[in-house]
Symmetry: C2
Subunit: 400 residues, 2 copies
């Protein structure tokens, strides 16, 4: 408890944009988030007053950020499980706890658990950690399921990193031995032919209350989420209910506390397969900041503090989130100038910047637009986000 206010303290491991936006959401709840950041220039450390500088793999740093907090939670999945168990042994309230979080940390653990639960996942198999054995397993797997196959690092991948699509045995020979030699634990799964990707996001509290957001479509380019369409256009009620029920079953079975994002493949036949799990605020629910009654960031705080959860109702018929990726902006046109022009053209656009440097492909912000028709809303969100990236209107529009 914060002695100055009598209100709870939440500690978050990681100082990225998710922690930044969680701090923003903590303010109306009467709180200030305590953040463990590795550098004072990280997105959350730029805006929050209570920052512990330290490494998420350092138990002392974790203990410092957890001291006196009602709950410890996460901006990312990278805290080693044994350190989480040490914190739990200390008496720290860790949400999600290590028994749940390992399913978001380790793709093989997750796949095996979901398969055991009878939940739909693509066919997969572990790739052994020796070069010849690995290639043999891949060849056997491809013989059964066909090329291409998807090779994944079991841990640590994000935004398309740690995922390799292997078209054939030659590609496997060119890729796998180096990874195996580097000690990267690997798995392989079927390349699912898909119509599109969906996400079902919910929050679950220790009490067991769960609240599901409308199911969304996520658009990926090169493994990076570029747009989220809320609700998923044209998804019939039965399919949306099925996706939601699947996410609720997983949250309950794994004992998730906080946000759970279930990334789904929708096949051309309308089947749903679980792709990934995330147990934290997630890019697929950034739209909730401006398109739902309760944002995912407030909801995550409410869940980890065991507050009653907020309404997940959409506030408009359509909301589209477009990510702003670090790009190759027109020389001399800084973000401030790009922001001016973006706000001038789209006074209804909700811009969220993270305070990050503009490295190519890096998520440095996003734009939410709400409205009546998804196509129109999507076009505006895309134009705004691209302009923030590049300083160029991708439709050729000029104000001059």
């Amino acid at each position: 408890v914060d002695q100055r206010t009598g209100l709870p303290v939440v500690a978050m491991v990681g100082g990225g944009q998710l922690a930044r936006m969680t701090h923003q959401a903590a303010i109306p709840l009467g709180q200030a988030l305590r953040v463990l950041a590795t550098d004072p220039g990280e997105p959350a450390a730029l805006v929050a007053p209570d920052v512990v500088i330290g490494d998420h793999r350092d138990l002392d740093a974790l203990r410092r950020v957890a001291a006196g907090a009602e709950a410890l939670t996460f901006d990312h999945e990278h805290v080693p499980e044994e350190l989480l168990r040490a914190l739990v042994a200390d008496g720290v309230t860790v949400h999600p706890g290590p028994d749940a979080l390992r399913h978001a940390q380790d793709k093989l653990v997750m796949r095996r658990r979901l398969a055991a639960l009878g939940e739909p996942v693509p066919p997969f198999v572990e790739v052994p950690g020796d070069g010849e054995g690995a290639l043999e397993v891949l060849a056997d797997f491809a013989a059964e399921h066909g090329w291409p196959v998807v090779l994944k690092a079991v841990r640590g991948g994000y935004d398309g990193r740690g995922v390799w699509v292997l078209d054939d045995a030659d590609a496997a020979r060119a890729t796998v031995p180096d990874l195996v030699a580097a000690g990267v634990p690997l798995m392989v799964e079927q390349r699912v032919v898909l119509r599109r990707e969906l996400a079902a996001v919910l929050a679950r509290s220790p009490f067991g209350q769960a609240a599901l957001y409308p199911v969304v479509e996520t658009v990926q380019v090169g493994g990076i989420c570029t747009e989220v369409l809320a609700p998923a256009p044209g998804l019939d009620e039965e399919a949306a209910d099925a996706a939601g029920a699947l996410a609720l079953r997983i949250a309950g079975a794994l004992g998730v506390v906080g946000l759970l994002a279930v990334e789904l493949f929708e096949t051309p036949e309308g089947r749903l397969l679980v792709n990934e799990l995330a147990m934290r605020p997630h890019n697929s629910a950034h739209w909730t900041q401006d398109g739902a009654t309760t944002s995912q960031f407030e909801q995550h705080l409410r869940a980890v503090l065991d507050y009653p959860l907020g309404s997940t109702a959409a506030t408009a018929p359509a909301c589209v989130m477009a990510n702003v990726l670090g790009g190759d902006p027109v020389p001399g046109i800084g973000m401030d100038e790009r922001l001016h022009h973006t706000l001038a053209r789209f006074p209804e656009a909700r811009v969220h910047l993270y305070g990050k440097g503009e490295r190519p492909g890096r998520k440095i912000g996003h734009v939410n637009v709400t409205g009546a028709r998804v196509a129109d809303v999507r076009a505006r969100a895309r134009l705004a986000a691209d302009h923030l990236s590049t300083g160029v209107w991708s439709d050729g529009w000029s104000s001059h």
Copy 2:
């Protein structure tokens, strides 16, 4: 400019809830507000990383918070005009500037200016600073306009402080000499018979762009705003347009930059009279956080930075803000427990807490509720806010 992000720095004088919520709104714009607070326990200082501790009447403190900022703006009106002029002479960009802000600092300056502009204000007169003369002026004024009259401190009042309704000459004799002896500069004005109070809130940028929010009804109890109904129920379009046009004329004539709240009396005949001006985010527009596309806090930042202004469109047919006043809570039921129960009953309520101690009558938070029908929305906002104040459901509801 913040060298870490390339984005502008805004300094705000005052560390109260308005600065707290402005910091919250600065985060998505890629910024962190720099705050001048008198105490590290003030609402904004609890949540913002860049806090200068100092007094707003201390030029050195003002210079420290302004150093390197793109714009200096305000959480309150209490910075002495001569210090603002010294900052302007230093080259600081002060928004609103002292020539505008004096109309929010000094009720007599404001009344005289608006009267000179031909804008509707209640009849008023300055009360001289000597005991006998003051009573004589009051008696003459009452002879012309009738008792009761409203005595106002020319400077420094808020939330009903600095306003005295005098029923008759005896009340004047009991009140005025002490104030005069204490050196309080005074004015008197007609007690307007009113149907209700309204507020027209807009933002204006240095470029001259102005953006008006829907006109609202404000409900006052004992001089303290308790509820705001957006839009003002039953206000016909012509009257709303007139109120908005009045606010836009005032903003332009006074050269306001940033938010301007024009508090209005609506008479039983439908006439509008200007009551007060505020040139900062204002209680009458807290509803915009959850009921409008762009919140007043973001809009104020956009205005003082000369960004294009955001859409002021309402996002729902009705939004009601109810203030949470420090009260007399049920012993042993802390804010955290009251918050739990409030969120449980009203998952759609948007709660905003300021991190302030619970002194009776003090504004310690507010609740926004949006929906289709104002009466229903108002009832829920009121119940939620009262429960946060007291731990009691004012409709007798019990969850047990």
